[in-house]
Every structure is written in C-alpha cells, then in structure tokens.
Symmetry: C2
C-alpha cells in the first residue's frame, strides 16, 4: 500500500503541548481524572479532533470521542487510550495512545478521504486509579457497561471525596453513566508505550501485542516463633525469615527458569516485630505471578504454592495465603494481530510480536469488541515516572503501523 | 560440704511480691528505670536486705547494695542483676538475679555466720535500655566508671526526657555519678534466666556460663532497579529482593552449619517502595551474627561478608553495609567457672557449661572484676515477655549453686 506520511514535527508538538497540561517535576505530568488539568487536556483533545475534521462528542463519564464517519453502515473501529496519569507519571503513558489515534485519523482523512467503515479516536477518562484507587478503567468500564449503579457513591478518592461528587464538579451527572455504554464497537486498537525493556533489548521500535498477561496476587503470611536472637540456637528455631527467604528465592527462580514471559515478583514484605536482635514472629509478603498463556500460568501458580507449602512444613511454620487479585489473560484477536503485523510490513517498520505484562484499557474493551495493542519502545523500560521516554522516530513508527492497520480495516 | 537449705516458699513469695510492683499483662512486669515502680521495687529490695541483716547503701545512680561484712580485709565478692524490665517483660529477667543474691547472703549468714571475705548483693538500676534506648547497662557502667560526663544530658528517653532529669525526679544528682565507681570488687557473679531453650532441651535445671558471646550487627542496604512487576522480564531485572532472599538464606544456613553456639539472625527488613506490583528499588536489613569464640566469630563474619559481596556482584546490585554494634566476647574467669561447677556438684545439682548468646551486666563488670554467670532453665526459652517462666525447683537449684559457690569463695 501507499506509505502513510506521519508529520513527526506535528507529533512532537502535540506531545509537548499536551504534556504541558499538569506538567510536574520537569518532564512529568500530574493529571488525575476530573481535575482541572484533566478538563483542560480533554478540551485540547476535543479541539484537535475538531480541527482534524472529526465529529466530537463526550459521553457521560467524560470520555471524548472524535468520529470519522464511514460511508457504509456497521460497527465502529475505535482506537485510543487514557488521558489521566500517575502522580506524577510521564508524557507518554496513556496520552500517547489517544494522540496517536487522533493523528492516525487526521492523516487517513487527509490522505485517503472518508473510510468505508466508521473510525473513532477516543480519550478515555481514567485508567490509572491514581485519584480513586478502586476506579481503574473507569472510562472503558463505562463503555462496556461494567460500572454498577452503586459505584459512583462508593468509589472514594485518596482525599475522601466520592467519584460522583468529583464528576459533579466538572459538570457530569453520574446517574447518566449507563448512557455511556456502547454496543456498536467492532474492534478496539490501543497504542501504548511498552513499559518494559523488551523492545529496547531486541532493538526494535514497535511490537504487536498478542495477549495481555493474566496475573494473581497472593498475600502470604508465614508465622513462626519469636525469640531472642542470641539465646536461641539455630537448630531449634522456627524462623519465618528463613522460610520467607527460601520461598522468595524459590518463586523468583521458578519464574526465571520457566522463561519469558513468566514473571514473579516479591514487591512487598513486612516483618514483625522487625527488631535487629529478635527472631521474627511473622513475615507477611506478596507474590505477584503473571503469565499470558492459561496452562503455563496455572503451572506457575501450582509450583509457587507447592514450594510455599513444602518450605512451611519442613520449617515448622504456619502459612496462610489469600489470592487478592486474579486476572485472566486477555488474548488479542488473531485477525487483528495479523492485520497490524501486515501493516508494519507494509510500512517497512521492523517489529516483533509480544505479550503485555501490564494491564490496559484493552482488557476491558475485550468484553465488547475484538482487540489488539501496539507497543512503542520505551527507553530503559521506564514507566509511571517523569523519566519515561520514547523517541519521536519510534512514536512515528508506531503511529504508521496504527494508521496503516486502520486503513486496511476501514478502507 | 553441708547442703545449703534454700526456703522454696520464701523464694516464691519474694518473686510474686516483687513481680506485683509494675505488674502488667497478667504475669508481666513494666518497670523502667527511675519510674515510680522502680523506686518501689528498690525500696522493697533494700527493706529485705535490711531484714536479712545486710548493711544497705545506695549509690549515685540508684544501685542498691546489701553488704555482709567479712572478717578479713580484701575486695568484695558481689552478686546481683538488674531490677528494671522490658515494656513489659516478665518477673524473672534481671530481678531473679538480684533476689537470688539477697537470698543466698541471707541463707549463708543464717547458716554459717559472718564470712571471711565481704559479700554483697546488688540490685542494678538499669540494664534493658527500655526507657532510655542508649542507656543499657547504666547501673553497671556507673560501677565500672564508663559513663562519660556528657552522658546524663545526652541520653534521651523515648518520651524526650534526659536521663539527668529522670534521675532528679527520684532525688538523684547526675553530677555525683563518678562516686558510684568501685575499685574494690574482686568477683562478680550474676544469676539469670537462660533466655533460650538449651537447658530445657538438655533437661537440666542449671548451667555455669563460660563466656558471653561476641556479636556484630550489620546494617545492610541492597539497591537495584525499580521497575514494573509485569513488564520487566526476569532475565533483565536487577531485583534487590532476589539478592536479599539469597543472602538471608545463605547467612542463616552458614550459622546453622557452623553449629552451636554460632547464631545469625535477620530480624529486620525494610523494602522500598514496598508495592505488590513493583520490583523494589532497595531492601535494607540487619544481620545479627554471634559467636563466643574469637576465631570462629571472625570466620562467621568473613563468610557472611563474602556471601553478601558475591551475591550483590553476581546480581548487579549495589551493596553497602555498616557495622552498627561490635561486641567482643566476654570470657568467664576459669577459676570461678571451676568453683561454681564444683558448687553444683557439692549440692547434687545436675548442670552443664554453656555460653550466653545474650548480653548481660556481667560484660560490664568484667572490666573491673573476675566474672561468671549462672543460668536457670527458662520454659520454652522465652524471655522479654510476660510469659517467661522458670519453676521454683529450678530457681532453688540455681540459688543453691550460687550460695554454695559464694560459700566456697568467702568462707
């Protein structure tokens, strides 16, 4: 197909201008949902959509839509991502996906005119949960109809406010949330920075994402016998720290030996009573284990659980755990993966196919549409920090793949 | 020699009556230095000394002395321990040593009259540091002349007060501390509960202590690279938790394999930022390693340090450590060990010889006197808890050994 010409200078200008809204800590951005910065960012997105010749609308939760009407009837093909950030996040996480969709539609319209299938760009209102910790995916959950009627009054911010009141503050009525539901979306494509170092290590600018990983968070407590660090011989101890260390080493090694994309992380540990000269009574910790393939994922969990039980039993420790979070893998649509791989080939963009180890709005959208994601290389794999960075060249490569894929689907 | 008759009912009555002063959490005691409970406990100790026919005096820091004057000139033979407790501690830690000394002198005077050598019982004012964290061994440090002139105003309590003001509150003048120094103590013998399970496992009531362990506290920080728990592959991580787990397992295993009396404890760990879905940036932890034999102690430290360096290097982690506490082993006087072993044999008390893994006032007193300790079996090895417990039979056995040993030295 014809090469699609992305204006790198325009892309850079848009990123910088959008990144100035809620600018924080140099290159960082602090833009939580329903904040003044969030309003301003969405207004800018809406203005750019209008300037690109898209029909702008806003739904009940504040997602902003820019539509390029197709000449034929049928469900829409939608691309976008979230406009809210961590506190502070960077300029790219989320925002880049909304801007890329807008730029792709602008370029397609300019270069090819009206599509057969309707295309839409969307700025999703909330993904990070950085103002309301239980509100993750608020925007995409509204679209998929998975916000319950009690959620607006029971979703509480870090400062104690309800999300319903935060919505009122920006002129939105939470009673109208059901109207945001869509049943006319055929496909959802999300471009996002990778948030890991795999593309950097593979020396590639872009990946097509075939699956978002499944994950389980265990919360584990090992209890032994608290005693004097000097007076209690090693052979008579029931030391939960010794058990914890063996389990932590073991689960990390298990995931490492299973190979990519298996990952297991012990990110959190609390020792009680946490005194230098006291054999602890207990160690509580989390185990975050992820794999995108259903069978290998279960094998990973089984190995972790078997190890935890064996170590606890052998060391005479009590062990208890609960599974705090359980997320099934989200598989991309095979046809969309093929289409965007072909799009990369058509634009001469070197690329790979990979799984996402992080969660995304795409997981929500998969409930009502076929999905796929495009990843753009992140320097150092950094994310959720003001230091996240992708080059304009890589971003342009990603938008080219997005636009070419949308072209193949819609024209 | 003649069996020494210890009145078990009297011993029990004294323990219960003394334990009622500062009673806390059932069988616990909360009696910090220079508190009203501490004053009351020392007054009771002084009254009991006087009733036993001992000459009572108090020194500048509030140590209470009961003297049984010898018929010959020469330095004193002193026994005792500390009257202050943890918050809360039990009825036995410290207090039992002060009461045992008093009871031993009372019995010796009643059964054998005046000794040739002067005997003294002492209630030491502060060992635990439970009100003033840097005031450990305050009582014995005053006796050995190792409290500096600036210590009273710079030793700060958990509630912010200086130890000088706390002394004033109970009528003591910190300027007089140098007068508490003694240079006329020949031997110091401290009876104490074991605080570990070695006697219980050996099924013996009493031990003679040949050494107090040496110890080093390392404060270690391992730093890696903080990243997203999902997006960062195992093979590219620099995960300080993985390094910590390997080090913790390794040092614990090293001490275990070296065998008794080597002990190594990881009692404290702090993870940063401590989020379930974040590969940590750093893990800070303590390593408490102890051995009473100088050469093996250094070997233990060398193995720990070599392991820490190797793991950090192999995993690409930064490591730094400092040695927070460094205590040389304190060896008992060979002649006193023999004398108290013989005393146990003379009274038909089954016993063993062992090292102490915990610190004691005896370490301080060793700077000015020959020392030895007597341990009494602790149920479950418990200490620093209201649940600590020793049977009256075992306590009487310990006091018999103490009294018989003092008899052999002084009569």
């Amino acid at each position: 197909m014809t090469p699609i010409a992305i204006d790198a200078a325009l892309v850079e200008r848009m990123i910088v201008e959008m990144g100035a809204i809620g600018a924080h800590s140099g290159t960082g951005v602090w833009r939580t949902v329903y904040s003044p910065e969030w309003v301003q960012a969405n207004d800018l997105f809406a203005r750019w959509c209008a300037e690109a010749g898209l029909t702008v609308s806003r739904d009940a939760v504040g997602n902003v839509w820019g539509k390029l009407q197709g000449t034929e009837a049928g469900k829409s093909i939608v691309s976008g991502s979230h406009i809210d950030t961590q506190k502070p996040g960077g300029r790219y996480d989320g925002t880049l996906g909304a801007l890329s969709a807008l730029i792709a539609l602008k370029v397609l319209k300019a270069q090819f005119g009206a599509p057969k299938r309707t295309l839409e760009a969307v700025s999703l209102c909330e993904e990070e949960g950085s103002r309301f910790p239980s509100a993750n995916f608020w925007g995409s959950r509204a679209i998929t109809g998975t916000i319950s009627s009690t959620d607006p009054e029971t979703t509480i911010g870090y400062d104690g406010e309800t999300i319903a009141s935060a919505m009122r503050d920006v002129g939105l009525d939470s009673a109208a949330i059901p109207s945001a539901r869509r049943d006319d979306i055929d496909s959802f494509i999300e471009l996002h920075i990778e948030q890991g170092p795999i593309l950097e290590h593979a020396n590639l600018p872009v990946a097509v994402v075939h699956a978002i990983t499944g994950l389980r968070h265990y919360r584990v407590k090992l209890t032994g016998e608290q005693n004097h660090a000097g007076a209690f011989p090693m052979d008579l101890r029931r030391d939960p720290m010794a058990g914890f260390a063996e389990i932590a080493s073991g689960v990390i090694d298990t995931a490492h030996r299973m190979g990519r994309p298996a990952v297991t992380t012990i990110g959190r540990a609390e020792v009680y009573p946490n005194g230098a000269a006291v054999i602890p009574r207990s160690v509580s910790f989390t185990v975050d284990a992820r794999h995108p393939a259903p069978a290998q994922r279960l094998a990973l969990y089984e190995r972790h659980e078997a190890l935890m039980l064996e170590v606890a039993k052998r060391r005479g420790l009590e062990i208890e755990w609960s599974s705090q979070i359980e997320k099934e893998p989200c598989l991309s649509d095979r046809g969309l993966v093929d289409a965007f791989q072909q799009a990369a080939v058509s634009q001469g963009i070197p690329h790979m196919t990979m799984a996402s180890g992080a969660g995304h709005d795409t997981q929500q959208m998969a409930k009502i549409a076929k999905v796929v994601m495009i990843f753009v290389r992140s320097e150092g794999g950094r994310s959720h920090t003001p230091e996240e960075f992708s080059t304009i060249e890589d971003i342009v490569a990603g938008i080219s793949v997005l636009a070419a894929g949308l072209h193949s689907l819609a024209y």
